[in-house]
Symmetry: C3
Subunit: 311 residues, 3 copies
């Protein structure tokens, strides 16, 4: 019934058909149910998964490592690249070949775009990309879709606003493609200097995406079923003046939420700094902490599928 | 029969009634027996415990992590805060909420006083304080009580000398309250500049503690069933001269032990530098390495109790 | 049938009789077979192994930690010594005594020669030396022997060339003694400034080793069943000029391999930088990545033997 993902690498957010996306979501849902009812899961017992973080990312690492443990697999972990073989001048390929000999699956995060593909080319075991440079972060995009599915009941035919820094936000780039594939309308709401890159907008439109661009946040909120907020980082702005001018208007708070549909779902990849006021954390549409938890279930699904162990 | 600790946070050393203290000691003893007879313990199988060290402490971390593993639980670990989400400006509350979504219990150590309480307020799962700033280190105080119980057979009605730096020693502050609660007499023996803070001495006396203060170590030893030694750190002294003057007299060695009761028990929270001469490591009353081992059993007890898994 | 290694420390490469070496190799082979057929191994279930890396070495650490996990044991890990108790001035002996109270076996790597012996003297549980300074790295030497056994079918009576930096290469020193013990002929091929230290060569000869020294790599290759390549590090040379002069001739590539026996086996402890051209990675005699994998099986064998759990 499920598609066979055994031995597949998870490298980017575009690699899945809608049917495959659905199978992944079903599997995540299945694991969420099993974890929540307190089942002792041994699906991956006897397997060793390597978690290689060539770039620190505590949040993503802990999410993957909790997933690995919850599946009954064993974990070997590299959280820190300083002073490692890598630092001794070893090529990524050699490191991966070595670790591939110890384990049954490799999760990796790397600061350089394209690293996950290079790793997958030399590894005999499946590689799951936990983010490589500005390129791809497929498990984030998939957990976002899983969150939409849970919060809304379906994953297509809705309007989603991407709010904040759309120029540098890797997350919104990956998710944009998936939203197009799933036939959602997108509104890009950002300060002018942090607009979605033209080549991405063009590419999305050429694939048939319905896109609106605006700097009117109130309007965007009024039209949206979902708002996906990203961090607006000071260092991305051309000047402090421009940052100070913008930042106030990109803080989602009670005041601004008055313009939104009552049923709006608020998402954020976290960590947030101050772009979402804590006063709306208790709002029932605030899904960002649930979204973080969903990451673990989604990663359990991917690990189970690529190792061929999910029954 | 046991008290129900399910879902409780372990935040400070004062939170327990004598009855609760006794239940914790019994549970630690039970786990010690099971580990020592080589039993494969699966009490926490299927649970994931997060070990979050926002401040490095290898000794405490390894003790907790061994306890987690010995109970059959799985571990996700953050030993290093540099470059983590925390470093990206995320609030402690957001970090805890996220990790709380991955795991069933949180062990944390943090450099800022009050952090454990803040974490416990937002986490749905139990939080165990592994030390927060100068505030509390309840598992250390509890393992000290457990050690006294094992070494002496009972935990009240004895005389304990606190020796060394009583001004900055977080350990002796926490333990002081427990010793008062358990009706032990205390002798505070320290250089004048490193005396127990007045507010603590007053507070202990107002609770009914019998306390003597002295800088005569020989006298203190002659009166004591237990001596609890702490590190005397050079940087705590107003001048090097004063340090040089003091340090010699605060080194526990064969010579000084001649003044002690033959049955005296010597404790130290470790790491020691030179305040206990290695020549007395083999003395049968030297309990400090046993004390360290006791920490693992005590932590197993707390983990088992707060997760509701201890049978 | 197997020798009894229960409780033994693994401290150096010379401590084993040929009979013991054989038992270790048989055990490694047994674990390799069980892992490869996908067996869920629980031989060390209920045991906790501490992995203490007082000096970073990602490759060796991950190999040991995968071995620990594959045996069903649990792991507590210290990958980073900065800011630990050690950094607070604690003696190695005190650290080991403490950790010894938490676990059933200690794996350690340390930058100072002789550390493993010091640790073994105070620990009640077995200590496995994962490399201590320039002194010993016995698990590397043993996995090299295991690799020769697998690649060649036997471990004695062959000719092995050690190529590259023989002056500073700890690996070739340890392996040299084992090769002598197993009655292999050795050729030392190195730039003149990086020759095998005289005292080692003399010692090996006094034990009856057949040794040839040369700087003619082509000749050495033509005589050898095995070539063991080591890194030639720039900083080891007296001057950059001498480095530049040498390095070209110590890169193993297709061109140079033409002078070798067709059946030659190429080994390298990794990480390599450029002393083996990637063009020969696909050559069937290139055993270095298999050699890395063998490390895990060999370490499983040692862990199983010293804990007395290998059936």
């Amino acid at each position: 019934m499920l598609m066979d993902f055994t031995g597949k690498d998870i490298l980017n957010g575009f690699q899945f058909s809608n049917k495959e996306l659905n199978a992944i979501m079903e599997t995540a849902s299945y694991y969420e149910m099993r974890v929540k009812r307190g089942e002792i899961i041994r699906d991956l017992e006897g397997l060793v998964v390597a978690s290689l973080f060539f770039e620190p990312s505590t949040r993503t690492r802990l999410s993957f490592e909790a997933a690995i443990n919850r599946l009954g697999a064993r974990l070997v972990s590299m959280a820190e690249v300083a002073n490692s073989s890598v630092a001794k001048g070893e090529s990524l390929e050699d490191t991966i070949r070595t670790v591939d000999g110890y384990c049954d699956c490799i999760v990796m995060r790397h600061p350089v775009s394209g690293s996950a593909i290079r790793a997958a080319e030399v590894a005999e075991h499946p590689v799951i990309n936990g983010g490589d440079g500005s390129s791809q972060h497929p498990t984030q995009a998939l957990l976002d879709v899983y969150t939409i599915r849970k919060e809304k009941g379906h994953i297509g035919g809705q309007t989603i606003t991407f709010l904040g820094d759309l120029k540098y936000g890797r997350t919104v780039h990956s998710l944009g493609y998936l939203m197009q594939q799933l036939r959602n309308k997108m509104i890009f709401a950002s300060p002018n200097s942090l607009k979605m890159p033209d080549e991405i907008t063009k590419e999305l439109k050429s694939r048939g995406a319905e896109i609106e661009e605006t700097d009117d946040i109130k309007y965007a909120l009024s039209q949206s079923d979902i708002v996906y907020v990203t961090r607006v980082q000071r260092e991305r702005f051309p000047s402090i003046e421009e940052y100070e001018k913008c930042k106030g208007s990109y803080i989602l708070n009670h005041e601004l939420l008055r313009y939104a549909k009552p049923s709006i779902t608020i998402m954020h990849p976290l960590p947030r700094v101050d772009e979402i006021a804590t006063e709306i954390d208790t709002y029932e549409g605030s899904a960002y902490f649930r979204q973080a938890s969903n990451g673990m279930y989604l990663r359990m699904a991917l690990l189970g599928l690529v190792t061929g162990r999910t029954r």
